[in-house]
């Protein structure tokens, strides 16, 4: 409850032009926004752009934002939809990554197995998994945010968990 009140106060402060309140919102929500974008796109540069552009969209819409709503889910919904759009656009453009020119990592990055398992899923499936288990949306909220039938969300979650070898 206290966190919710603090966040509402920060949104109100940002609406009135307080850069420190905006920075507090940014520092609270950036890590998850960036991580969510990365887990859907698997591209750190794109994730940075997507998270950044989502915050910019939030700033542009700040005056119209309803303070009774939580800020984080609103932002994360923008992030995930943009990340899905980006992966679809990349597929259409046929872009390839210049993996040949990258040096080999000295050690396997933390969470590399999970990341590799996620990579086997489609962006749409990854988005559902990320929204449910990283951003903690309910299946109903995911269905609404991505404009999907509830059954589709559940089936994507099931398939995602199968691929990741986990149980709900």
């Amino acid at each position: 409850m206290r966190a919710g009140r603090d966040e509402r106060a920060r949104v109100r402060g940002a609406q009135r032009g307080s850069a420190s309140d905006l920075e507090a919102l940014f520092r609270t929500h950036w890590p998850r926004a960036f991580r969510a974008a990365y887990l859907v796109t698997h591209d750190a540069g794109a994730a940075e752009d997507i998270a950044q552009e989502s915050f910019l969209a939030a700033i542009r819409a700040l005056d119209r934002f309803d303070r009774r709503r939580p800020f984080g889910p609103w932002l994360h919904r923008i992030v995930v939809n943009r990340a899905i759009d980006w992966t679809r656009a990349r597929k259409l453009r046929g872009e390839v990554e210049l993996v040949d020119s990258l040096p080999a990592p000295e050690a396997a990055p933390a969470g590399g197995e999970t990341l590799a398992a996620l990579a086997k899923l489609s962006p749409e499936h990854r988005a559902v998994v990320v929204m449910r288990y990283l951003l903690e949306f309910t299946p109903g909220e995911i269905a609404e945010a991505l404009d999907l039938p509830r059954g589709t969300v559940n089936s994507r979650l099931r398939r995602g968990l199968d691929a990741l070898g986990d149980e709900p």
């Binding site: 940002a14 032009g17 850069a19 905006l22 920075e23 940014f26 520092r27 950036w30 890590p31 960036f34 991580r35 990365y38 887990l39 750190a44 540069g45 994730a47 940075e48 752009d49 998270a51 950044q52 552009e53 915050f55 910019l56 700033i59 542009r60 700040l62 656009a89 453009r93 210049l98 990055p109 933390a110 969470g111 590399g112 999970t114 990341l115 998994v129 990320v130 288990y133 990283l134 903690e136 968990l161 990741l164 986990d166 709900p168």
Partner: protein, 375 residues
């Protein structure tokens, strides 16, 4: 599962956060209401107009009028076609048909249906844009790579023999991409106006916002300086060739800043004489300025060296310097001419080319996108 997703290492997380915050901080500052500030600025502009008018009257180059055309519009004895450029180098020209390269011998090649472009730093490539595409081209028109982006404008290329960047503006804002077309990223959101790379080492970029001119290091996104910019829509933003001066032009004002963002020159036109274009003379801090007044136009110089002034009837559109700074080109839509003017006194002082629109298969008057020295 949540733990697993949070444990995944995201490359460059800390740096990305700080870069993003610097972008957002700018955007948030720009979001402030402008009405209050506008009221404060008006008296300053009024004073500036008086000062600038005096400066223009006292300016020595204002006395050297080369050619007055009172009756016929256009230079008599203009050549019917472009047979050669008066100075070494190659021109890049945009017309309704697309982007053209003009060689010094006057031969032209249409690169493709692009609407804007600029030369790479050594003139070996061209970066071109059309509505939904950014493209790197060979000067013969071969496409090296393309990027699909929306509403692409102001493509600008900078760098050294081995490391180059392209800056451009699209619907998201100011973006940069490596010269090989990789690592495209948003640098500053919301930028709409002109941009300009500072010549020299590093990747330093100037751009304008609704209230200021800003110079930043594109590699680190660090803001190097910002200063109030002229009111009105900026029509030109250009560095001197040594990177020590930055010119910002709007119809109502001309500001020149030094490398630290201090305004070192201001020359606002008298009322009814809007600026239409301005350009630094190569290897100099002198500026050629084009202004229109009713049915008359003029190009005159600001700076230390005298500049042959050029006057004409109708509308001048652009002024572009030849590499070396001995000639400048005035584009003159009313006369459908290009006029090459020798900057200093000499035997042959002007060369005019007529039928410019037709020569570039255009219905609107072609634009000069760059004039670069030949290797």
């Amino acid at each position: 599962m949540k733990h697993e997703l949070e444990r995944i290492e995201v490359p460059g997380e800390h740096e990305a956060r700080e870069r993003a915050w610097s972008v957002l901080e700018f955007a948030f500052a720009e979001r402030q209401p402008v009405e209050r500030r506008a009221r404060m600025v008006r008296p300053a502009i009024a004073v500036a107009v008086v000062v600038a008018t005096l400066a223009a009257v006292l300016s020595p180059p204002g006395r050297a009028v080369l050619d007055e055309i009172r009756e016929a519009v256009g230079v008599e004895r203009a050549q019917p076609a472009l047979f050669s450029l008066p100075a070494p180098g190659r021109l890049l020209v945009a017309s309704d048909a697309g982007l053209w390269v003009v060689q010094q011998d006057g031969s032209k090649r249409l690169l493709g249906p692009y609407r804007e472009g600029s030369w790479s730093p050594f003139g070996r490539f061209v970066v071109a844009s059309r509505e939904n595409e950014l493209a790197a081209l060979e000067p013969d028109g071969d496409v090296r790579w393309t990027l699909a982006r929306r509403d692409v404008r102001f493509p600008r290329w900078a760098g050294t023999e081995t490391d180059t960047r392209i800056a451009y503006v699209d619907r998201s804002g100011l973006r940069i991409v490596a010269g090989d077309g990789t690592a495209d990223r948003l640098l500053v959101a919301g930028v709409r106006g002109p941009i300009a790379w500072r010549p020299g080492s590093g990747f330093v970029l100037a751009h304008v916002t609704p209230r200021s001119v800003r110079v930043l290091d594109a590699s680190t996104r660090k803001l190097l300086w910002q200063a109030p910019r002229p009111g009105g829509r900026p029509t030109a933003l250009e560095w001197s060739s040594n990177g020590r001066r930055l010119l910002v032009l709007s119809p109502a004002a001309l500001y020149v800043y030094d490398a630290r963002g201090r305004m070192v020159d201001q020359n606002d036109p008298a009322e009814g004489w809007p600026n239409v274009d301005a350009a630094f003379r190569p290897d100099s801090a002198d500026v050629a300025v084009a202004r229109v007044h009713g049915s008359q136009s003029t190009v005159f110089g600001l700076g230390r060296l005298p500049l042959q002034q050029f006057n004409g009837t109708g509308e001048f559109r652009e002024v572009a310097w030849a590499p070396g700074g001995r000639w400048y080109l005035v584009t003159w839509p009313t006369a459908d001419q290009w006029v090459f003017v020798r900057a200093e006194s000499g035997r042959q002082r002007i060369r005019a080319i007529s039928n410019v629109t037709e020569q570039f298969r255009s219905s609107s008057f072609p634009r000069i996108e760059g004039w670069i020295a030949t290797d």
